[in-house]
Symmetry: C2
Subunit: 499 residues, 2 copies
């Protein structure tokens, strides 16, 4: 075996263990009987320990250093090696003591957060979060950064992203989206009460499966199941699974989780099989991943052409509930913009205000300009400022998300990035694909999927997000595409021009 092949095989072995963990986690959410939980925790801990050991092995490090100087390698091979070496060096920065301390702190913080949210008592969570934030501040130093400590956190999920770049995006959000949304708030609110009738479970399930099939999700290389919180996972690019949930009294939950997770899954199914375990076979970043789910969910899934073809089927399944509801009423209901307390329930515009608040807080915590004890007050003031709403309780405010209790700082901004990338990609796709919306209107999104495969999916992590964005769209990420999308869609929907 060549040195390069040795390296590939070592990476594949790490992937084997990580994918085994992913299956154990999938099973935990989908199938596991309750009494299996304790053993499952230890099995996952053992596997993650073993994967870590493999991923910091000395021989792997030596191979990577040697290969990184090897001029005989092809370009994709060089990029694989460079990216793997970067990951290797990052992982090597962690001492075992630090990893153990972090893991214990997260366990305790997660439990405290659950209790605090249940009892609506931030004080129960505060000391744990304080400890966790201190460790995360340490982690920023340990990983290193050039401008802002928080950059180290962002880089874990979005390689190359800086606080300055996110700041710049949110300056534009504040300047453009905030006043635009305020204008929308002054208009009559679309009615969506009809989506909260009783909708038969099996009919919902069948409709959702139909949507996934129509998107091009390959059921020979995946499956859908039910779980409390919908998610996508994969154990290779030919076994990519989605989950959904069904609320018999609210049609929206199933529909949007199906299309959203379907978008994630199409990305994973489109990654090159030959790159198993290597950067060339893995997703680029969370922001790019989220761009795929949001493009399908919002730009396609919440468009009028999409429902022109799918709404008749939905009406046929629920004649009593939807027989009298027009296509346009349905379209308006799914694009209702309103201030909301809870991020995961927010519409596609105000969503970014939720993220902006979290970003400001995380950045402040990492640079030590905000302390944990101030968080509820800070949070509530920002919700008043950006969304005009009074937060009635910390449980529905600063305690609503699981992320911080899991130690995930730097994750939230990738949600907004995803939407912004999606708008820019869509703009390009519509330009390049002839009669784009006519195809969507006929229920045919194969050209779009083909385009995403060719432009984004097949490259795995061989480019940075910035490189990819320029290759695909000819320019760097710009908030203007999202703003144009918002103005055009909601301007028409809310008849702003008619004023």
């Amino acid at each position: 075996m060549s040195l390069y092949e040795n390296y590939c095989e070592a990476m594949r072995k790490i992937a084997d263990v990580n994918y085994a963990s992913a299956l154990l986690q999938w099973d935990q959410e989908v199938n596991m009987p309750e009494a299996g939980a304790a053993a499952r925790s230890r099995q996952l801990a053992t596997l993650s320990g073993m994967a870590h050991e493999l991923s910091v092995a000395d021989d792997l490090g030596q191979w990577l250093v040697t290969l990184n100087e090897d001029q005989q390698l092809t370009d994709p091979e060089k990029r694989n090696v460079k990216e793997s070496l970067r990951n290797y060096n990052d992982r090597k920065k962690y001492s075992t003591e630090f990893v153990v301390e972090m893991s214990k702190t997260i366990s305790a913080a997660f439990q405290a957060w659950q209790q605090a949210r249940k009892e609506n008592n931030f004080k129960l969570f505060a000391p744990h979060l304080t400890h966790l934030v201190a460790l995360k501040q340490q982690e920023c130093e340990l990983l290193g950064y050039s401008e802002h400590p928080y950059d180290a956190m962002l880089n874990q999920y979005e390689p190359g992203l800086t606080s300055a770049a996110v700041d710049k995006l949110f300056v534009e959000v504040r300047a453009n989206l905030v006043p635009f949304v305020k204008e929308l708030f002054s208009k009559p609110v679309p009615d969506d009460a009809f989506t909260r009738q009783h909708f038969d479970r099996q009919q919902q399930w069948d409709f959702g499966i139909g949507l996934l099939k129509a998107m091009g999700y390959d059921f020979k290389a995946g499956r859908q199941d039910i779980s409390a919180h919908p998610f996508t996972t994969n154990f290779c690019s030919t076994d990519v699974r989605v989950t959904t949930r069904i609320n018999e009294n609210d049609l929206k939950e199933m529909i949007w989780s199906c299309i959203h997770e379907g978008g994630h899954a199409l990305y994973e199914q489109g990654l090159p099989e030959a790159g198993y375990g290597l950067p060339s076979g893995e997703y680029l970043s969370l922001g790019i991943h989220e761009s795929q789910s949001r493009l399908w969910e919002n730009n396609i899934g919440r468009s009028l052409p999409y429902w022109k073809v799918h709404y008749p089927d939905l009406q046929k399944r629920f004649p009593k509930q939807l027989g009298e509801v027009s296509l346009n009423e349905m379209y308006r209901s799914m694009n209702k913009v309103e201030p909301s307390l809870i991020r995961t329930n927010a519409d596609e515009l105000t969503y970014h205000f939720h993220i902006m608040i979290r970003f400001e807080i995380e950045k402040g915590l990492m640079e030590k300009s905000i302390s944990v004890n101030e968080l509820p007050e800070y949070w509530n003031a920002r919700y008043k400022e950006y969304l005009g709403i009074t937060v009635p309780s910390d449980a529905n405010g600063v305690l609503q998300d699981v992320h911080w209790s899991h130690g995930s700082f730097g994750y939230f901004p990738t949600y907004s990035l995803g939407s912004f990338y999606a708008a820019q990609f869509m703009h390009q796709a519509v330009k390049e694909i002839p009669k784009f919306w006519e195809q969507v209107e006929r229920g045919d999104t194969t050209a779009l999927l083909q385009w995403l495969r060719e432009k984004i999916h097949k490259h795995g992590r061989l480019y940075t997000a910035a490189e990819l964005c320029t290759r695909v769209t000819g320019s760097a990420l710009s908030f203007s595409y999202f703003m144009d999308y918002a103005r055009s869609k909601y301007g028409e929907l809310y008849q702003l021009k008619a004023e």
Copy 2:
């Protein structure tokens, strides 16, 4: 941590990896989309390699040697150590080259077997089987034995079992069971045509779930799913899963797989949780495992009292198909004794003739008195002799079972041992539990389950099968209990006394 605790933690870690593999395998049979197969194979290979490395680690070996001399340990601790050391030493006997060669040969043999069975052409399988048998002969030498090379194979599944002991059992089978069954063959055959009508899938499923619940199977620590070949697996004693299959045109498949796998599962659910990864928390042997499935399937499940309580429910679910079928007709149909070609379809008496033939062949192969090329002829002659039937094709003859292509030699005899142990355990349970059959007739098998838990399950692998049998029943395993059971049950059923 004490040395004993170090050892325990090392064993638990090995179990973590092996149970993760078990989940990957379960998922492969139950959920995996077809395109996931290739990656799953390599994930399983990686995990099994890692488990093997952990299980032959030098420090584990040193701890075991030291602990084996430690007089401070409690008796159960001593037994754990002794058994683990025996396993450790066995695993150390394999060189990496041998393991790799075996694994490659098995892969090729399994593929060849599938093809050979499909094409009904033993010659396609013969060279692979010849190679595999040669490796297995080597393995016997490598593992060592005191009397017969085949003992080394038997010991892998049934520690302490010898060819001589199995020979002795089958001498009695030939002397007693063969003539008894010939007598049954001369009697009118019970009718079971009514079990091959159309039976609704969901009704069958619900009935099967009811049977499992009635047995005491804990659904909070397990679940049932559908798979092509029913099996039981577990990832700890509190997550023990069974699978079944449903044939809408044959009621029998679901019923017997449900009760059989349920019996296996009750054993696993009864193993001590604290013994996770240690001999004290694991099943004793395949023979003892099979005794639990067969006791529930045959001794309980094919008894008249059992159906007195469950048959009315079955009739209610299938009034059209079973409304006119009496309890006694149902009971007779499920105890029909007849010569058959295929082991897995055989009744509980002729079943042992199928095993006897396989045992003779395996023993002959290991001692080199039979060659692979003679197998079809040898097989067919024995089927004529013991079962009086002509084997029409190798596909339904010598090629019917997967075991040899998997390299599993020494496995078959444990099926017969299971039935014989079951008869002996049942004899004792009926003696010790007051009004045993009255309880069964009321649908109450809690006293039986309690007895099995106390006498068998809770001991894990702290005793040998021989020790356990004597502790539970007061005497060594004897075929006479099975023969008494057969004479009593089938004598009455076939009205032999009436002659």
